[in-house]
């Protein structure tokens, strides 16, 4: 299951860069770490964040 999140916000050059950690030799929990992260990324955005974004312009 390759569930790596390609991310939109820049950082697109990560793949194949020197120093990119190898995918081999992973312990059993390594995939779980990505699942934990991605499960939050996939959550719908709470209203409080939408409100905050809208209010940002007023902060100036």
């Amino acid at each position: 299951m390759e569930h790596r999140k390609p991310e939109k916000a820049g950082n697109g050059a990560t793949q194949g860069m020197p120093g990119k950690p190898a995918d081999s030799d992973k312990p059993g929990w390594a995939n779980g770490l990505k699942q934990l992260y991605n499960s939050v990324v996939d959550e719908p955005l709470p209203e409080s964040f939408k409100d905050l974004i809208e209010r940002l312009d007023d902060a100036d």
Binding site: N11, G19, P27, W29, Y37, F49
Partner: protein, 203 residues
């Protein structure tokens, strides 16, 4: 707040990019401090700081990396004030455990989340950046303001600690903050307090 004022279009771009990274900020914060409510507070604090400092963002560079720096600095500051110790996210762990399994999952994610929270914060963040966020060692080193070798070492130590806890079944008690783990956290924090490892591009 110097003379370099952004145009309305630039501000709109910044806002859009900032909005796009919120899910990643929430995921990083959740991994760092465990509890969803505190993590979201941290993200909101980060967004306000990022907005206030937007003149220092270089358009075209990674918004995710830039905001992660702000978030981890805010987190480490809060850690020093004793807020996030020994917390972990029961909500996420439960939801995942109840979700249909895509494949055989030998590790309970609740255990993983708990084990993660026992790591010293700097190892936890290094592991999250590289192992969950998909950053290279070089990128993680920039975010944490330390040498690449330091990141590699932190990730390596975090990995072996988790492997020992999870694959070998040496799980600490829930929300364990006493004993060696606590001691280690305090030692790491001493170093952070002494200025090692904490970057401060944003106040």
């Amino acid at each position: 707040m110097s003379g370099d004022v952004r145009t309305a279009a630039e501000k709109a771009d910044f806002k859009r990019e900032l909005t796009e990274v919120i899910p990643h900020l929430r995921a990083f914060a959740r991994g760092l401090c465990g509890r969803p409510d505190m993590a979201d507070d941290l993200v909101q604090e980060t967004m306000l700081k990022a907005w206030a400092a937007q003149d220092r963002f270089q358009p075209g560079t990674s918004m995710r990396a830039w905001t992660f720096v702000i978030l981890r600095n805010a987190y480490l500051t809060d850690m020093r004030r004793n807020r996030f110790r020994g917390e972990y996210d029961e909500g996420v762990a439960e939801r995942i455990l109840n979700a249909p399994a895509g494949q055989e999952e030998p590790i309970h994610l609740a255990d993983l989340q708990r084990a993660l929270q026992t790591l010293p914060p700097e190892r936890r963040e290094a592991l999250l950046l590289v192992g969950a966020g998909g950053f290279s060692y070089e990128e993680a080193a920039e975010i944490c303001g330390c040498a690449v070798g330091t990141i590699k070492s932190r990730v390596g130590r975090a990995r072996s600690a988790l492997t020992s806890m999870l694959d070998e079944g040496k799980l600490p008690g829930r929300a364990s903050t006493d004993g060696d783990a606590q001691q280690e956290i305090l030692m790491e924090l001493e170093k952070v307090a002494a200025g090692e490892g904490q970057t401060e591009p944003i106040k």
